[in-house]
Symmetry: C2
């Protein structure tokens, strides 16, 4: 649901052809979104159908333009749409529907012990993933680039991606703890203090 908008934003910077859009898209999203080549072109077709992009006229591409490269560019409507999307932080409503959330919410109503087990299993998995991520982060280095010239934007993107993965993982771990608490409180509403994981039901 963001490929369309992503292409718009990339085209807002400069005209690009399909393949270039794909590589640039992936460069910016780190390893977050492996884009299938075909989808780029189908999406471009839809955008063209909707009047948001158009093919740049051949006259504007002066030297050594490969026949096969077909650069697209935004129309006026497309520029508006791209900017509007970036600015539309207000209506950013789409609630999160990750697998993790769904699993926990659905499992929350079975037997207490089973529910706690699911929660705990996920906690372990997330913890492992977090540690692995942190290792990779340290390995890649947080500082401003090595001698590698190409890393200009790519590693910035990679850093940002790693960052968001880490903070999200930490948040999910905190949530799982909250879940365990709520589940126990819910199954022992009047009781005083269970010494440990009480099987109250």
């Amino acid at each position: 649901m963001a490929v369309k908008e992503g292409l718009l934003v990339l085209l807002a910077e400069q005209p690009r052809h399909g393949y270039e859009l794909k590589t640039e898209f992936e460069r910016r999203t780190g390893t977050l979104w492996q884009l299938n080549t075909g989808q780029v072109y189908t999406t471009l077709e839809r955008l063209q159908r909707d009047g948001l992009v158009e093919m740049a006229p051949a006259t504007e591409a002066p030297p050594s333009t490969d026949e096969r490269r077909r650069p697209y560019r935004l129309t006026a409507a497309g520029q508006e749409a791209a900017q509007a999307w970036l600015d539309a932080r207000a209506a950013d409503d789409a609630p999160p529907r990750d697998e993790l959330i769904m699993k926990i919410l659905l499992a929350a109503h079975v037997e207490l012990d089973d529910a706690l087990h699911v929660v705990d299993a996920h906690r372990h998995t997330l913890l492992a993933r977090l540690q692995q991520l942190r290792r990779r982060q340290r390995a890649n280095g947080t500082g401003t680039e090595g001698p590698d010239g190409d890393s200009d934007g790519a590693s910035l993107a990679q850093h940002l991606c790693d960052d968001v993965l880490v903070v999200r993982l930490e948040a999910d771990l905190r949530w799982l703890d909250l879940c365990a608490d709520r589940l126990q409180a819910h199954h022992a509403p009047t009781k005083s203090k269970p010494t440990k994981t009480r099987g109250t039901s």
Copy 2:
């Protein structure tokens, strides 16, 4: 991508008919996922096609069964699938592709000031949403249920949903701060001190 699995889990607890599945699904996901009625039936058809669910024979529904209610139940394969999904925390790989993440990542490569502006705008929006959520949370009360008998499971689900929204929002806010730091560091790699908001990295 989780409706299918959700229905499986609900049916694993007991046979249910379509409408009941919808209401129960929504009850458990708080207000997170407003399920369209039609989708329940189309999804059930697909599950039936794949041999995961079947219609419970009329013989098993003894008293006062409405003609119009058609209860579904899991097949053996369905039970396996439901359990497998709950247990499959390991392969839970799907990387997050929220609008927020995509916007920031794509905007990170434009002019520094523009990028920082996008980040900051989102921070304000998220902050407002967080405060609003916290207010609602306090209004609803964190304790174990009022005298309302029905709130048994519904409010547990609501609490869990609110929790996840809060921790996610907090995480995203932290990420936005990190983004601002990284952007400034990236645009002033060798410079000493840009007067404000130092990225400690």
